[in-house]
Symmetry: C2
Subunit: 320 residues, 2 copies
């Protein structure tokens, strides 16, 4: 007898827009929508927008919803269902978002930090499906992450664990905006990376990167660097290799500390694709403890578009 | 009614000598002994020495032993009771040491990696008694550690977790003998530290360190550096402060990753005492995520002498 298909409503709360999707337990999106978060207007308005989006998507498709999952920025207390001081949400404080939504719609609502939700998404639907334990790192403007250990998300003492972007790779390195020194985010967070590339292009005036942006360095993106690399540009190649060494160094430390050897790389910067993944893998294998070397696996994330919605909906299918 | 006092036999298996002690559940040593491990003569001889030591100490004191705990180097599978490839034990491979001892004496035998046993020792008897979660770092020739999370030792996928000494603080730093680059052990492991101090003394010929060892730099120890510091030597002070920054950087990364904010510093180098502890604390508070800052606690280990025996016996009293 085939198992019955179940549905969840996944909500990806972002600083600019909030995305909603009805997702099956096979990870297929039935319908989706997106509305502005209006974060700058304060928490009441954000909550009202979330309710509006839920009504809208529930009206679109008459599926029986097993639960609502919300991925939100900031520190989440997932027992109390609270979201605390999410960055870029002024006036927020600590709000019981889970309970508010559950009460309004009478549907069980689960809430999780967005980086943890992304890891749970990969665990339920994506590259982590076959693994009991892995560490996910998400590369974007910020660098985040999530730890799945023994089929459970690791939350730490107060729900703030998994900040892979703020592991330092150089105790005398550049200041990070988090207040620490030499964090991996301060090297490969998109804005930091771009600044560094622009600086180094002064010594590499022949790079194809400059050609691709017509010398308008503000237009440089990970995609542009990748394109230059694919055209054989040596400088672009060195940028990606250097990122691979830096990420490999962080993940070696994580592996030595946690004895976890599967890593999933997600987010925008992971658009660098295979060359980046390969360099990360090579660096970890070179550096990690001998018994671990043969077990190291570095995998690209599988949930690309709609990773936020799918991760949030995965909370409903995930038995924690 | 007062609780009845219970006893355990703790065994600290070392490369040179193996130490045995009968320890009460209050952490008091009733009797102890030490015999050569004879590691160079192979595993059969080591096991025979362990049996000899056990017989010896059981003959000394006729206490009812609740269990035997063994702290051993190398990777331990504590379900199977195996010790795998302990460093400095030639010809060892993988041996079911736990079962062998349990069978011989008919006493329940538990086995754990020595760094984890040290953390469990602090958790049961020492500085970690009041905490549900903490990270211990042990400073010596090697730098090791153990993670207690939610009242349990965290072992990772294959029992090799907690290698705090091999978190890199500089991805372009000095080679570590583990094969990685810039590990904290490659900065503050006693031999590395000593080499660095000897090198830097060339630029600090007036340092009291040289005076204290009569210019015989081979005699430099953490204790000597501490003594010079206490006499107001600026160079010695800078050595300790630098160690504090390096250790603070590692523990900040660990805190951001694991959301654990209590740290216990053990081992020989921690003989630097308060100035080192204070500098570590200051560095973490400066660097760690804002919500964590107010929770950071850096504590010296409480089990000093016989920490190995007490940690091993704590395995018996610890409910994992």
């Amino acid at each position: 007898m085939a198992e019955k298909i179940k549905y969840a409503l996944g909500i990806d709360l972002g600083g600019t827009s909030t995305k909603f999707g009805i997702v099956s337990n096979l990870g297929v999106i039935l319908s989706k929508t997106s509305i502005p978060s209006n974060a700058e207007l304060g928490p009441d308005e954000v909550i009202s927008q979330i309710k509006k989006g839920i009504k809208q998507i529930l009206a679109q498709k008459k599926a029986k919803i097993k639960g609502i999952g919300i991925g939100a920025p900031g520190v989440i207390n997932n027992e109390k269902g609270t979201v605390e001081y999410p960055p870029n949400f002024p006036g927020w404080g600590r709000i019981k978002l889970g309970k508010i939504i559950q009460k309004e719609f009478g549907i069980k609502t689960l809430i999780e930090n967005d980086a943890n939700a992304a890891a749970i998404g990969e665990y339920i639907f994506g590259a982590g499906k076959k693994y009991n334990s892995f560490v996910m790192i998400t590369l974007g403007t910020g660098v985040g992450g999530g730890i799945i250990f023994n089929n459970k998300i690791y939350r730490g003492e107060f729900g703030a664990a998994g900040e892979l972007g703020h592991i330092s790779i150089n105790y005398k390195g550049p200041k990070c905006k988090c207040g620490s020194v030499g964090c991996i985010e301060a090297y490969i967070g998109i804005n930091y990376l771009k600044q560094q590339v622009i600086k180094e292009l002064q010594d590499n005036p022949g790079s194809k990167i400059l050609e691709l942006v017509n010398n308008e360095v503000d237009l440089i993106t990970p995609r542009i660097i990748q394109e230059a690399m694919e055209k054989g540009d040596e400088f672009a190649k060195s940028v990606v290799e250097n990122m691979g060494i830096q990420l490999g160094s962080v993940l070696t430390s994580v592996s030595n500390l946690l004895d976890i050897s599967t890593f999933i790389i997600g987010g925008g910067v992971s658009g660098f694709g295979k060359p980046l993944i390969n360099k990360i893998q090579k660096t970890i294998v070179e550096r990690v403890f001998i018994p671990t070397k043969k077990r190291v696996k570095v995998l690209p994330a599988k949930l690309k578009n709609d990773a936020g919605i799918k991760g949030a909906s995965a909370l409903v299918f995930y038995k924690s």
